[in-house]
């Protein structure tokens, strides 16, 4: 399989702290790939580098056959590479429905489209997605009034509305009620299988990521520590040491 996302030797330092040190990884088209690692190992920094949030110091990032290392956040988003945030980011004073409506793809957008009301198909699709994440009954509430976990689900619906090719999910199950995690996992699998969205997932919940991902990369201290299928990662002594703090 050709990788849709190809990270080559990416290094990013903040002052003296090397947050990512020569990371190389590939996300194949249509896959679900996991990214794990202890706190501060550079997972979110890597996501930020990929989506163009800050310039990288060395290396290159390729998406769908073109280099995106120098592109800015909105340009990368319009190419179809989207991320969700660890600390949720939604539009607090707008209703859930509006949050999803405004998340339509913004690729071909002339002045006419910008200034005209949303066609009813868009509203219907937005409502469908709210239903998909279980927020349909709350569609008229303001985004900021909802709990952290609900905002997380809203953010997922917003990302799907944007019809991305690849979705980078930063801890999708953090803050979600434990009773919902299994169904959320099933939803993520359906996003991947039915909608054809490639997923690249940061996750701390081992049960979730081992169940979800086909291939997992593990970071520690900014470096790529191990990679492999879930079974291999689970039994990898280096990964266990990194997590449990053995030297």
């Amino acid at each position: 399989m050709t990788p849709i996302l190809d990270v080559r030797d990416v290094t990013k330092a903040f002052g003296g702290v090397i947050a990512n040190d020569g990371i190389t990884l590939k996300v194949p088209q249509g896959a679900i790939i996991g990214l794990i690692g202890p706190n501060g190992s550079g997972k979110t920094t890597l996501f930020n580098s990929i989506v163009g949030y800050h310039p990288i110091d060395r290396g290159s990032i390729w998406f769908d056959g073109r280099e995106i290392s120098r592109l800015r956040v909105p340009q990368i988003a319009r190419l179809g590479l989207l991320r969700t945030f660890q600390q949720t980011r939604i539009y607090g004073k707008m209703s859930c429905l509006e949050n999803v409506q405004i998340s339509v793809p913004h690729v071909h957008e002339g002045l006419r489209t910008m200034l005209s009301p949303y066609p009813s198909e868009v509203t219907e699709r937005a409502e469908g997605l709210l239903e998909f994440v279980g927020l349909y009954p709350k569609r008229h509430l303001r985004g900021g009034e909802m709990s952290f976990g609900q905002q997380k689900l809203l953010e997922l619906a917003m990302a799907l509305m944007n019809q991305p090719k690849v979705l980078l999910l930063d801890e999708p199950t953090a803050g979600i009620s434990p009773v919902l995690i299994n169904s959320l996992m099933e939803r993520l699998k359906r996003i991947n299988a039915d909608l054809g969205v490639t997923l690249f997932v940061i996750e701390h919940n081992m049960r979730v990521i081992m169940n979800l991902a086909q291939h997992i990369y593990c970071l520690a201290h900014g470096q790529l520590l191990a990679e492999g299928p879930p079974e291999a990662i689970q039994t990898d002594q280096r990964v266990i040491d990194a997590y449990l703090g053995a030297r």
Binding site: V51, V73, P74, A77, R78, L82, R83, F85, R89, I90, Y91, G92, K93, M94, S95, E98, Q101, I102, S103, V104, P105, H106, V107, E109, L111, T113, M114, L115, S116, P117, Y118, G128, E131, F132, V133, G134, L135, P137, K138, H140, L141, G143, E145, G149, Q150, L153, M158, N162, S177, L180, S183, L184, E186, R187
Partner: protein
């Protein structure tokens, strides 16, 4: 249905009163014309400051551009030096009435074009700034525009310019400009009402709530911000052009009144309620009425009273009148207070 009928009734009533007003109270025509201008100020300021979260203190620049451009067009193209026009016999034959209104139309059109060009040019430069940096920068732009106007000989520099005299009997210009500002403010209101219901409206709200997120979702943030500013510029330039003609005399104090109109447009929007459609209208009406009363009944202390009013607005109505009403009676303002929906458990069971 009842809601639409009620709105229609409200709009008709307001329009009827407004159309009759100059005949009912002819002595107040200029004040009422300025009331519509204030409403327009508050509405256009709220487009950026309320709906988009970009507090601008420089919108007065577009107003000033309108003032000067419309006056210069009249002076140079339609009311060229008396002697010259008599010598050629060209302009002297056409009636001043024809000249005045043609000149006004051309002047306003040109004012809009130049103001939009300036908004787009400035916007692409400074709309990249966020929060208070943007606010300070626009403040600087407003001051700079005034300084340029007071030093540029072509537009009269410090001694100012005179707009042509309104053709017709005394006082008729007040009636004309009353209806002009009324039509302009109403057009502005309905244009914004329509825009706020469009993709544009949601996009600028998204920029207000979380601009980083909006960028991460691929929204063309700079494009939307620039369009918003250009729309403000269109209406402000039209208002400026007309105000210059109503006032007859134009200099930097008239065209770039940063500390009066420039600050008032912000205050009126805040008083009425930022980020709402009706807020700026209500805020401007109350502010203008109060201000005129201060000038009439508290002469000598009017500035002090105005200052106190501003303090009261900011301290007691931080959300504005609309914001306060909305928090008192949320269900009347389209807020969902359905407790059931709020408490509804999220289910991710098989839905489809």
């Amino acid at each position: 249905m009842t809601n639409t009928t009620r709105n229609l009734l409200l709009y008709t009533l307001i329009c009827l009163i407004s159309l009759l007003a100059p005949h009912l109270a002819p002595a107040f025509r200029v004040q009422m014309a300025l009331l519509w201008m204030m409403i327009l100020f508050a509405l256009t300021w709220d487009l950026g400051g309320g709906q988009m979260g970009y507090n601008s203190f420089g919108n007065i620049v577009f107003f000033g551009i309108g003032c000067y451009v419309a006056a210069v067009v009249q002076r140079d193209l339609f009311f060229a030096v008396e002697g010259q026009s008599q010598a050629t016999g060209d302009l002297a034959t056409s009636s001043p009435l024809f000249n005045y209104f043609n000149g006004l139309a051309v002047g306003l059109a040109l004012a809009v074009i130049i103001a939009v060009a300036v908004a787009a040019g400035l916007g692409s430069g400074i709309l990249g700034l966020r929060g208070q940096y943007f606010a300070i920068c626009t403040l600087g732009v407003g001051i700079a525009a005034g300084e340029i106007a007071s030093g540029w000989g072509y537009i009269g520099a410090g001694s100012g310019m005179v707009a042509p005299i309104f053709p017709g009997g005394p006082g008729q210009n007040a009636t004309f400009f009353y209806y002009f500002f009324f039509a302009l403010a109403v057009t502005c209101f309905f244009t914004l009402k329509r825009l706020y219901a469009s993709r544009f409206g949601l996009a600028i709200n998204a920029i207000r709530d979380d601009e980083d997120k909006a960028e991460a979702m691929g929204i063309h943030t700079t494009r939307y911000k620039t369009i918003a500013w250009c729309i403000s510029a269109v209406f402000l330039a039209l208002a400026g052009g007309a105000f210059g003609h109503l006032n007859n005399f134009i200099d930097r104090e008239v065209a770039f009144p940063g500390i009066t109109f420039g600050v008032w447009m912000v205050l009126m929007a805040i008083l009425g309620g930022k980020g709402t459609l009706w807020g700026p209208v209500i805020g401007a009406t109350i502010f203008h009425a109060t201000q005129e009363l201060f000038w009439t009944y508290l002469l000598g202390w009017q500035r002090v009273a105005l200052g106190l009013l501003i303090v009261v607005i900011v301290v007691f109505f931080p959300l504005g009148i609309m914001g306060w009403l909305r928090s008192r009676w949320p269900e009347r303002f389209g807020e969902t207070v359905d407790l059931e929906a709020r408490a509804a458990p999220i289910s991710l069971g098989e839905t489809r």
